[in-house]
Amino acid sequence: MNEHVHLNPELYHKDVEQVPIRNGYGQGLLLAGQRYKDVVALCADLTESTRTQAFAEAFPDRFVQIGVAEQNLATVASGMAAAGKIPFITSYAVFSPGRNWEQIRTTICYNNQPVKIIGSHAGVSVGPDGATHQALEDMAIMRVLPGMTVIAPCDHYEAERATLAAAGHDGPVYIRLAREKTPVITTDRTPFTIGKSILLLEGKDVTLIACGSLVYQAMLAAKELLGDGIHARVLNMHTIKPLDEEVVIAAARETGAIVTIEEHQIAGGLGSAVTEVLARTTPTPQEFVGMQDRFGESGQPDELLEHFHLRAKDIVTAAMKVFKRKAVLKRQSKSPTTKRTKKKA
């Protein structure tokens, strides 16, 4: 593990501490409220479960209950931002940014208003509520908006730091949170800068690029791969936009094989963002761990991660696959026939 980033020393312990990522948002919002007098919070009837409650109690005059009206949530926030506020708007990710995309596009992004959109309960790990409440497309629809920053924190510490960073960022930000308890990977000493990925584990054979709740699965996978003699590099790509391109390109050059891991549709999210960079700079064998163009369903989070192939063993399979393709490419580039063809071309 990269000792420079002060990770949780108990990370690989079987009883690793687990805390919901959304809790970090609640703590971060409270701190942001103390630090910035213009921070206000708006919520669409989910104050407790999105962890906006603490802010609402500490700053009742800076909290607006919107009701179940996500389009109003985004547009009222835009108006407040136009009058100098830094609004945080919270709901479940399927509803915001799911139901109010055009309002976010026109009144927040095109207007360039510093509204912070917090989408909680993202991913299949929402569990029993079922597919209607499991946001799997939110990063895709936010990532394509000009001026938008997209962040998926990997644990509650990172969510807290991301929330504070968003409050200080002059522009719209989307932060994706998860409902379930998630293993704690970082500590209060781990750095966080928007757009700067965090190297969790050094390796030369393959790179696992993960975000959000699945970063922990990537770490488990790396440990398992090591047993097979494969040294995996693990990157916590907490910011999906703007993507840390330099680090992605370096990973492709140095390890020659990439696996992206996200609790999101494989189209449009982290995997696509990484591919867009590599396709024009460093074409590299890639595999995509994520939702394969499907909806989720009801079940316990563990059952669903298993069913949809989002666990460490699935990452290991993907890593092996891409590692083998890399080896084939290497052999081809060394073979005399290829060299001759190259010369002719």
């Binding site: 835009s78 108006g79 055009e102 360039n112």
Partner: protein, 290 residues
């Protein structure tokens, strides 16, 4: 400025609306012509604003929700001194500050980008809430179309404004009874708008949207009303001032010279006829050429 002066000003603004639409070759006619009197009253009598200092912190905020009627906003702003009148002919052209739908980042004095319907009132509510948190003295005016009351987002804002008793908010609805596909009461009946708004805890005032004195009086009444936001139902004639356009929903989204109708002159004559009617106030006064 006297009411009589403002009536003249509104007529000049209507002529500029026709000219800019003809130069652009596309854009909306009926709504802008219908709202010329309301905009003139706002920019020349009602708003606390400084055209040469559009970001003045204490200015009243004007949110145009139905962005498609922006020709009237641009023409009125130019006449009020925000930018040169000569710039109006750049409407909808490449590189212009006068985008096809108004954009906050393009032109100083535009409070928000608009066009997609149903989201302006929410933004006005947000501005009013933020102003209240800061004990600001400024007032928020939101201009709405009747057609955008088809949208749920509008009613979400109506509910929230009623809940917070936003007395610093005045909405002015362009009740011209038309939308793109036809009369509003055919597309999706909206009446009774007064009863609906009152049920949502708003104060409602009906005015003749072409009577500048009534419009000013209504906004004064709105400022005096405590504990409630106010809706001014401005009853207007779409296409007002151009006889062949008045009341005809087909002119909602078309400029003169683009469409034949039973009552309109031939395409080539349409702009000329419109300007002549406006100059002579429909034949009531002699034009400068006669």
């Amino acid at each position: 400025m006297t009411v009589q002066h403002m009536e003249r000003k509104a007529n000049e603004i209507r002529q500029d609306i026709i000219k800019m639409l003809v130069a652009a070759g596309s854009g909306h006619s009926a709504g802008p012509l219908g709202m010329a009197d309301v905009f003139t009253a706002l920019y020349f009598a009602i708003l606390h604003h400084k055209p040469k200092d559009p970001d003045w912190a204490s200015r009243d905020r004007l949110v145009l929700s139905n962005g498609h009627i922006c020709p009237v906003l641009y023409a009125t702003m130019a006449h009020a001194g925000y930018f040169p009148i000569s710039e109006l002919k750049t409407l909808r052209k490449f590189g212009t500050r006068l985008q096809g739908h108004p954009h906050r980042g393009a032109l100083p004095g535009i409070e928000t980008t608009s066009g997609p319907l149903g989201s302006g009132l929410s933004q006005a509510v947000g501005m009013t809430l933020a102003g209240r948190m800061d004990n600001a003295r400024w007032h928020v005016y939101c201009l709405l179309s009747d057609g955008e009351h088809d949208a749920g987002n509008t009613w979400e804002a109506v509910l929230l404004a009623g809940k917070h008793r936003l007395s610093s908010l005045t909405a002015i609805m362009d009740r011209n009874n038309i939308q793109i596909d036809g009369p509003t009461e055919d597309v999706l009946p909206l009446e009774s708008l007064r009863a609906k708004y009152e049920a949502f805890n708003w104060h409602v005032i009906d005015v003749d949207g072409h009577n500048i004195e009534m419009i000013i009086n209504a906004t004064n009444e709105a400022r005096a009303i405590r504990e409630k936001p106010t809706l001014i139902l401005a009853h207007t004639i779409p296409g007002k001032g151009v006889s062949y356009m008045e009341g005809d929903f087909r002119w909602h989204g078309n400029p003169p010279g683009t469409m034949e109708t039973e009552t309109a002159p031939p395409k080539k004559e349409q702009a000329k006829v419109a300007l002549q009617e406006l100059r002579t106030l429909g034949g009531q006064i002699r034009s400068e050429h006669e």
